[in-house]
């Protein structure tokens, strides 16, 4: 029994050390700053904006899919549809600000909980960059960039705000028991991201979105 306890405490000690060493890179060199009044406007895909259409390459559990990703803010939620070029619907999901995701439709061969859960975890922070809980601001001492920290049910979200666009540039979501999600937004204007890269989740999923100019 004593041997077991010793073994167990050694394991716990190692776990604490490991967790402590897994700090977010975005936290390094940060100092607390007052939360800007316009912090909400840093986020992409806000409720008061229109719909978005992206060319999408999605790699999930080794399967590669390409098509169109359609994002529409509907009241306080976001609806996301992924269809192939030929119009076949692959998935239709709904996301809430709290980090919940629900499946409206998913094609039979992808209709597995780990798959839809992984998609949900990847897209949720992309659609809701900030909040709803523990919203705090920091300043990166070296670059002077504003950093917004917040949380939802999927863990803590750390956003780096771009100087030119005034929008989220990089986002990392992490939770001790969940793999990390990294999202990078590229854009020349604050209207919509020109390109979005979603990675992480132990390499189970990678998403590359490119905005489609419909004009």
């Amino acid at each position: 029994m004593r041997k077991y306890l010793l073994k167990n405490s050694a394991f716990n000690f190692l776990l604490i050390i490991a967790m402590g060493s897994c700090s977010f890179p975005l936290y390094k060199g940060m100092e607390p700053a007052p939360l800007p009044d316009n912090a909400g406007s840093f986020a992409w895909f806000r409720a008061d904006t229109g719909r978005y259409l992206f060319r999408a390459d999605i790699s999930i559990y080794g399967n590669e899919l390409s098509g169109l990703l359609f994002i529409k803010p509907v009241d306080e939620s976001r609806r996301v549809l992924f269809i192939t070029e030929t119009g076949i619907k692959i998935f239709d999901m709904e996301f809430t600000r709290e980090g919940k995701s629900g499946v409206v439709y998913v094609a039979g061969y992808m209709n597995r909980k780990p798959v839809t859960k992984t998609i949900g975890k990847a897209l949720s922070p992309m659609l809701f960059n900030i909040g709803p809980e523990a919203v705090e601001a920091y300043k990166d001492k070296s670059s002077g960039k504003t950093i917004i920290s917040s949380a939802d049910r999927n863990g803590k979200k750390i956003c780096s705000i771009g100087d030119l666009s005034g929008k989220v540039e990089e986002l990392v979501q992490d939770k001790v028991i969940s793999p990390e999600v990294r999202i990078r937004f590229y854009s020349a204007s604050p209207v919509r991201p020109d390109s979005v890269l979603v990675s992480g989740l132990h390499n189970r999923l990678n998403i590359h979105l490119t905005a489609i100019n419909e004009n």
Partner: protein, 213 residues
């Protein structure tokens, strides 16, 4: 404002294509053998099909449409080329049991037979284009309609799993040449994809390179 302009542009661009069918009055067909015989003869005489197409993806719940345009080519046996030109360039070639997809950055080659989804998709597309799908009574129940210029066939998959994905397929055939004028795939939840084939040319010369990888 951008969205408004987009919708107005779509209405202006698509109205000639859709107005014809909007005016058509379809009634149940008394004698379907005329269509089946016509399709058989037309299919036997058709070596190639080249056509422009407009694809409309209608997302009913969101009241949104996504419009794609491009060029469709078909050559016997089972060589298909979908070349999307709008809203972005994307190419699909199906030939000799393989499928190639290509965009501005990537090119991928799939073995159709090793992938059940692609295999079914290929069978379905070529079945629709050549009218073979109408003879597949085992998998689809069909109802037949006609107007003064077109035949309309509505196909409902018999398999429940298939119906979860595809509620109904509607195919419009031109009475003049029995060629497919339009194709509508209605999904569960009433979202649908409609493809209108315009400026169709039957048996025009198509260079074999169009179907090569």
């Amino acid at each position: 404002m951008r969205k408004f302009n987009y919708i107005i542009t779509l209405i202006l661009v698509l109205s000639p294509a859709f107005s014809l069918q909007a005016q058509e009055q379809f009634r149940p067909m008394a004698e379907r053998s005329i269509l089946l015989k016509g399709l058989e003869e037309a299919s036997a005489a058709t070596r190639t099909i080249s056509s422009s197409f407009i694809q409309e993806k209608n997302l009913e719940v969101l009241s949104e449409k996504i419009i794609s345009r491009g060029i469709f080519l078909f050559s016997r046996e089972n060589n298909i080329r979908w070349e999307y030109t709008q809203p972005y360039r994307y190419l699909i070639i199906i030939s000799n049991g393989r499928m190639l997809t290509r965009d501005e950055k990537n090119q991928k080659l799939y073995d159709i037979e090793s992938n059940r989804m692609f295999s079914e998709m290929n069978r379905f597309i070529s079945g629709c284009i050549q009218g073979d799908i109408l003879r597949n009574e085992k998998e689809y129940s069909a109802s037949y309609f006609e107007s003064s210029s077109q035949y309309l066939v509505k196909l409902v998959p018999r398999n429940e799993k298939m119906r979860q994905m595809l509620n109904e397929v509607q195919i419009w055939f031109d009475k003049k040449d029995f060629a497919v004028a339009s194709l509508k795939m209605i999904e569960s939840g009433q979202d649908f994809t409609r493809i209108d084939f315009i400026d169709r040319k039957i048996n025009a010369e198509i260079p074999p390179e169009k179907f090569s990888f």
